[in-house]
Amino acid sequence: MIRALQLTKHYHMGDSVVRALQDVDLHVPHGQFVSIVGASGSGKSTMMHIFGCLDRPTSGTVEINGQTINTMSEKRMALLRNHEIGFVFQTFNLISRTSALDNVLIPLMYTRKAYSTKPAIEALDRVGLSNRAKHKPSELSGGECQRVAIARAIVNKPKLLLADEPTGNLDSRTGRQIMDIVHELHAGGMTVVLVTHEMDIAVQAERMIEMKDGRIVADTAVDAERRDEILRISRDSHQSLFRKKSMLSPSSKPLPPKLEAS
């Protein structure tokens, strides 16, 4: 689904150059659920933006669903975002003046096909909000807003779901509801890439990638046993993990990294 080779992204900030991504190699096969963790500025958002066809790499190649985006036209990129990628944001990013249904309809508006509200209603149904279709975002709770956002992301039945801290603005109970939906979508065959700060969210993925200073520093498969292990370490270090060292390769008890050869 995603194949990145020698992926590098540099930003110019005034006179200095920010090296957001450096020689990242990554392969995410179809149907995989990957979580990306890392401190702010570690490059995870930049990577998401490139995978989401919102940005182009400085060098290296990226393939999304077999299509190289480096040389792709803006129009093709927009089409790819519309058809094959669904975005979920931390702050929901719903358009406040329109109803839940209208928000879900927006991607359909940009799909240059016959237009009907049916897929939107179906998508709302999938996140269990078809009864709130006429409500405006201001009349919905945070969890409901995020579910509308998910419905918007999946309305065009994309193959790839990119979620940037989807539970970051929600309490843990609502967060669990959102994760349930994410799991459901994954079970339905969708490839999911999820960026998060929260360990208990990250460990729910099949695969965890940790980033630091624009590089992948750890990449591991997660099963039930490792899940508990990671959570224990994370609790011990009082959430200051990222500022110290990689938690996925702790000196105490090393976890065998399962690097994917790309």
Binding site: H49, A78, N82, F87, N93, T98, L105, Y110, T111, Y115
Partner: protein, 403 residues
Amino acid sequence: MFHIRLLFTAIRGLQQNLLRSILATLGVIIGVGAVVSAVSILQGAQRDVLDQFESLGADQLIIVDGKREHGGVTSTVRALAPVDAEKILQENAELVIRVSPQYQGGGQIKYFQQNVNGIILGVTETYAPMNSYLVESGRFISREDVRGSTMVTVLGYGVAQDLFGALPAVGKNVKINGKSFVVVGVMEKKGTLGFMNVDEQAIIPLTTAMARMFGQRYLSMLNVQCASAVAIPACTEGITKTLRVSHRIRSGTKDDFTIYTQEQMKQRFAQVAKIFGVVLYSIAGISLLVGAIGIMNIMLVSVTERTREIGVRLAIGARRFDILKQFLTEASIISLFGGALGVVAGWAMANFLGEFTQVLETYTPPSIIIASLIMAVFVGVVSGIYPAIRAARLDPVQALRYE
């Protein structure tokens, strides 16, 4: 491809900041309104005046005082005397059918407690036939009245109505500027004739007006009816010759009178109308420009405010062209809506002015309505294009981060 959704999206975008949208619309309303009312007034005036010229007749000439330039100062020369009228007729007998010398003053016409202010027009017996202006009751001023400077008057229809109502006016005594006159006739209802509302005037013998009423030696104007419209050039030439001799003007010196034909007056008016047109259209154009700047301003604010929304739209598959379309649609709605209201406002304004002043005739040509709407949309697109391009050019990553 244009989705009806796009229209709804744009309308919702405008609804969100209703007051702001209305203020932006107001700029266009005023702009388009100014254009429409300016055109209506100008067109109305033009129609009105052209009608007047038509009523003048193509075979008629108007002679008025000339202009003299002395040391850069232009002044009017008063030189037309009653005797000129007779000379013109005598010396150009085969070209001129009749001459109507006139003296025009103002005054109060009073009948007991009733009084009106109107035009006091001194004429000879030729005035009525020349203008195909008929007496409704009684008789018109006669040659004997003029010769004898009699104290008789023929009232305009409106004056008679005001003073006497339904009662017969003929035979009654009225006071004009304090002097007693016998009403010998009442004219038919005519409206305007030669730029004057003749219904609101009292007609008295020319000699009475000049000698006994106003104490003047010179005429206000001379109206000449030529043998035919074809004879106008020859007629003009003959009259010029007669008047130059009569006024003892040496060769090489300019005339001290001006002869206008219907055609010349039309041209002169067209010139004046053109100047007024330029002024009015400039003002209207400026207000439209202000309206356009208003839209652009609002759209720029709107783009900045909705940066994040634009980022989200781009992220979920909008092409840059889609964003451009959205903002251009918003600008077009503002301007089209403003344009439509502006047409109504302009039309209402013109009509109000027409009613209020009682002088202005207004006419709103249907073409201007269509032109205004096209112009309004043009303004919307032009003023919306820059903000829309700014919106479409936003970097999606930065737009998504925008707080």
